[in-house]
């Protein structure tokens, strides 16, 4: 019996592997063009100041300087979300964080450009700055934007939560803080721009979202998009940090237009910390009502986001701090209030898990505490509140497949959690948590009714396949997923597929490598494209073999009769037949997610065509003298729908666990006197090879009915349960509660000495949220 698939489900070597291990992969900074200039950007030394005057005359006179730009050269505002067009490529009237771009120089080499930056004279008037949620709310001086530091406030309610709280038999409330942190990709952002004599602009950039960069360049440079080509170079790590529109991209393009010469700008490591768009610091209050048996009756959730100096993805981030509570647990009544505040720090945005690791941390330690008080074990409390497959949550999110229970069983059994956690030696403990995540956002960043992903295929006469798609590989293996799906459908091998990706001239749209959307959405588009080409080949072969196209199989480089495998043509012969009959053999496929938004304002953030599920058990080893927490072993299970390539999925899971441990124990983006405390790789602590734990990874396959071959996401979800599982393990080990990320040695020692053995926020600020938008509850939740 032949296996069902020949490529899908196999741990094959990915198409770009050998380019990467040989150093041949060309990242943006590896590009060099004849006569290329180098650009550098002058950044604000103040967290909040008016810019009175920018005098560039001395810089312009320095030999080797070819152009200098200030805000007046690029006056059109932009922003990744249509509702937050609040950024300028170079600040004109005021600066809002240390590192905010003000002016730029293009010169024949980087040293000259650097020297010229020092000759630019900027006069500022300093303004009072706000560096935290509390300071932003209390600010007396000039707001950072407009008339208030409140960027976005939302308030939603699904059913009467107050009434449900009143009848609950046990109600618990917790206040929790998650400090901000950053992506820290090993590759610094870089862009190379060229403006050709025919008036066409090309920008090579290390971007996860070339389509959005394309749109922003058109807007800010006031050029038709048809004269702009954006080529995303392979990203040397993204994690969400290269999915925004960045000053250096716009500035490099403008310099190329101004000088007629290619221009490269590569950010320094320090500048990458200012570009940021990373994890929001979020202060949260969660209140849940339970029955005595541990069933949730209602939840009320409040979040306060510290947004930094600009909008970025912040409106979406705000909603994401509330959206996925109900895909993880069956919550009958739910209230969510959130506010995002502007502060004088680098803008926050999407980092792996976008807006959901913070509430996941809050919820999972809250449930751990509730379980103890209810007298049930923390695993059992989750089991009593599992979401159902093929259901709708109280906030109208549609769940298709759900493998959460399987995930829980895998990690609980694998770790011996229930048996071992009561008998650990002193200082050692086990913690448990669960989560869910999107397989791509159900709505695009700008409103349109077009597909989110498109793939074109062109076959050559020897059986080679050219695959064109706007998606860009950021290390997650998207090139492999697209090639594997097409190879499977056409019955060819991976190395028959030639990929061209992330090029706005050549490739059809994919919205980008963010939101865990590429496998699901571009994968579905690739499958549809391959099926359309295969149909055409089948017609040509059926014609030659005098059989029905429905009776044919494509496999092993042949197309043959399913009942008589000896009867068939080679794949190349089939292409030649089809080409002879109908000309060039091409096909295309698109994917548009179903309209899943619920009947209320604010329902656009949260819907996804499918949700992944994860569960984790983390073991900690705590040093009572130093407060240091080590993680020797992690058990993680992830419901990926189907693993198109199990090795790559496990790689995403392991990478997620690693990043989660960094956030849980050491990574933080903090400030002093308006300055980033440690914008360097040495002082911004991140885990090294020495901290890598033993990991047991379990893949759960639920074969989602809408995913390509049943696949769901893998790149972000597995990060989510690990952070709270660490906190819960620390409690198990030391009976202390660190309700604040990261769990540093200082906090552990402090908690050991506190009377309540806890470190964390005591309360949330007083804030008048807008009136609740009271949404109707879906039919299945009425009367519950």
């Amino acid at each position: 019996m032949a296996e069902a698939f020949s490529v899908v489900g196999k741990s094959l070597t990915k198409p770009d592997a050998y380019a990467k291990v040989s150093g041949q992969t060309k990242f943006a900074d590896d590009l060099s063009l004849p006569r290329m200039l180098f650009g550098r950007i002058l950044r604000s030394p103040y967290p909040h100041a008016r810019v009175l005057r920018v005098d560039t005359s001395a810089a312009r006179e320095l030999p080797g300087v070819l152009a200098v730009l200030t805000g007046d050269d690029l006056p059109v505002k932009f922003g990744i979300l249509p509702v937050s067009q609040d950024e300028e490529a170079l600040a004109r009237e005021k600066v809002r964080y240390v590192g905010d771009p003000i002016a730029a120089v293009a010169a024949t080499d980087e040293w000259i450009a650097d020297e010229a930056l020092g000759l630019i004279d900027v006069q500022f008037t300093e303004l009072p700055h706000a560096m935290s949620i509390q300071e932003a709310l209390a600010a007396q001086g000039e707001p950072i934007h407009g008339s208030s530091n409140v960027h976005k406030a939302v308030a939603l309610e699904f059913g009467d939560t107050d009434a449900a709280m009143r009848v609950a038999e046990y109600v618990r409330e917790d206040t929790v803080f998650f400090e901000g942190n950053t992506h820290l990709p090993m590759e610094q952002h870089a862009a190379v721009a060229q403006y050709a004599a025919d008036g066409k602009l090309t920008l090579w950039t290390s971007s996860q979202t070339p389509h959005y960069v394309h749109r922003a360049l058109g807007k800010v440079l006031e050029l038709p998009m048809s004269r702009i080509r954006v080529i995303a170079t392979p990203n040397g790590g993204g994690f969400g940090g290269k999915s925004d529109i960045f000053s250096h991209e716009l500035v490099a393009a403008k310099f190329a237009m101004a000088t007629g010469r290619p221009v490269k700008i590569t950010l320094t490591r320090e500048e990458v910390f200012y570009a940021h768009r990373g994890r929001h610091p979020v202060l949260m209050k969660v209140k849940t009502g339970f029955t005595r048996g541990g069933r949730i009756t209602a939840m009320q959730f409040q979040s306060f986001l510290d947004g930094g100096g600009y909008g970025s993805y912040g409106v979406a981030s705000t909603y994401y701090t509330g959206a996925l509570q109900a895909t993880t647990y069956a919550i009958p009544r739910y209230r969510f209030e959130a506010v995002r505040l502007f502060t004088n720090k680098p803008p926050c945005g999407p980092k792996r898990g976008h807006g959901t690791p913070q509430p996941r941390f809050a919820l999972e330690i809250h449930f751990d505490k509730a379980a103890e008080e209810l007298g049930v074990d923390p695993v059992e409390l989750r089991r009593r509140n599992l979401p159902a497959p093929d259901s709708r949550t109280v906030n109208w999110l549609r769940i298709t497949s759900c493998g959460l229970e399987d995930c829980i069983n895998k990690v609980v059994d694998g770790s011996g959690f229930l048996r071992r956690r009561t008998s650990m030696p002193k200082g050692r403990g086990l913690g448990f948590a669960v989560s869910s995540y999107l397989s791509g956002a159900g709505t695009a960043i700008y409103w349109n009714d077009m597909p989110h992903s498109e793939v074109q295929l062109k076959l050559d006469r020897n059986g080679g396949v050219l695959l064109l798609c706007g998606a860009i590989d950021i290390g997650q293996g998207s090139d492999h997923i697209l090639a594997a799906i097409v190879a499977e459908v056409l019955g060819v091998a991976l190395d028959d597929i030639q990929l061209s990706t992330g090029d706005t001239d050549l490739t059809p749209i994919d919205l980008g490598s963010y939101s865990s959307r590429v496998t699901f959405m571009a994968g579905n588009a690739a499958k549809a494209a391959a099926e359309s080409v295969r149909d055409r080949l089948f017609r040509a072969v059926a014609n030659a073999l005098h059989c029905d196209a429905a009776d044919l199989t494509a496999r092993d480089h042949r197309i043959y009769r399913s009942d008589r495998p000896a009867d068939g043509l080679t794949f190349a012969q089939a292409v030649q037949r089809a080409e002879a009959q109908g000309g060039v053999v091409t096909g295309s496929g698109s994917y548009t997610p179903p309209n899943l938004a619920g009947p209320y304002k604010g329902s656009g953030v949260g819907p996804s065509p499918a949700y992944s599920y994860s569960a984790a058990v983390v073991e900690v080893d705590c040093d009572l003298k130093t407060g240091e927490v080590k993680v020797p072993e992690v058990w993680i299970a992830h419901d990926v729908g189907r693993a198109i390539n199990p090795m790559l999925v496990i790689g995403q899971v392991e990478g997620s666990v690693y990043m989660a441990l960094g956030e849980a124990l050491m990574e933080e983006q903090t400030f002093r006197l308006g300055l980033h405390k440690f914008p360097s790789l040495l002082e911004y602590k991140s885990p090294t090879a020495l901290e890598a734990p033993v990991m047991h990874t379990y893949l759960v396959e639920t074969i989602d009915r809408e995913g390509p071959f049943g696949a769901k996401e893998a790149g972000q979800g597995p990060l989510l349960p690990v952070i709270p599982a660490v906190a819960n393990a620390v409690y198990d080990a030391l009976r202390i509660r660190i309700d604040e990320i990261p769990i540093t040695p200082e906090k552990v020692l402090k908690a050991l000495n506190e009377r309540d053995r806890r470190v964390g926020p005591k309360s949330v600020p007083t804030f008048s949220f807008p009136p609740l938008i009271k949404a109707e509850v879906p039919e299945e939740w009425k009367g519950k």
Binding site: Y18, G655, T688
Partner: protein, 161 residues
């Protein structure tokens, strides 16, 4: 910058002798990438903090962002471009490719060269020795496990092929 500011540097890189005129304050990293076109060596911080720029000098791991080419005359520099033997990839490169140990691929050149230095010194290292040897090279994608496994696979196959 005029030619008068430049100095002649003789380097032996990947077995080839080369003499070039460079600005004396350029680091080995810059000379490799900008003057010799060896862009397989990456930069991560240019402050000696992340080892992304790691190369081998006389077979030992070396941070090219902190090295001055003039100091390295007469020594043997190996970059990722010199790791394969002709068209035959080094067993570590094969193992990294096969096991998915390179995700984004940006730290990969330095990781591979550092692992090569380890296997040249210690053909069958323990997991702990691998961790120690690679601990200076930061990777943000993999969580390091597939890298350890790839080094072990290459070692089990015999690093000398």
């Amino acid at each position: 910058m005029s030619i008068a500011d430049k100095v002649e540097v003789r380097l032996r890189v990947n077995g080839e002798d080369t003499a070039i005129m460079v600005l004396p304050y350029k680091t080995l990293l810059e000379v490799l990438r900008e003057d010799l076109g060896l862009t397989g060596t990456k930069h991560g911080c240019e402050l000696g903090e992340c080892s992304t720029c790691g190369v081998l000098v006389d077979g030992k791991p070396f941070l090219s962002c902190l090295a001055m080419p003039l100091d390295l005359e007469g020594r043997e520099v190996t970059t990722i471009e010199g790791m394969a033997r002709g068209r035959e990839p080094h067993p570590l490169q094969v193992a990294f490719a096969e096991l998915g140990a390179a995700q984004c691929g940006y730290c990969t050149p330095a990781m591979l060269l550092t692992a090569k230095a380890l296997l040249d010194r210690e053909p069958r290292p323990s997991r702990e020795m691998i961790k120690q040897a690679l601990s200076g090279v930061l990777c943000r994608c993999t969580g390091y496990l597939k890298i350890f496994e790839a080094v072990e696979l290459a070692a089990s196959r015999g690093s000398d092929g």
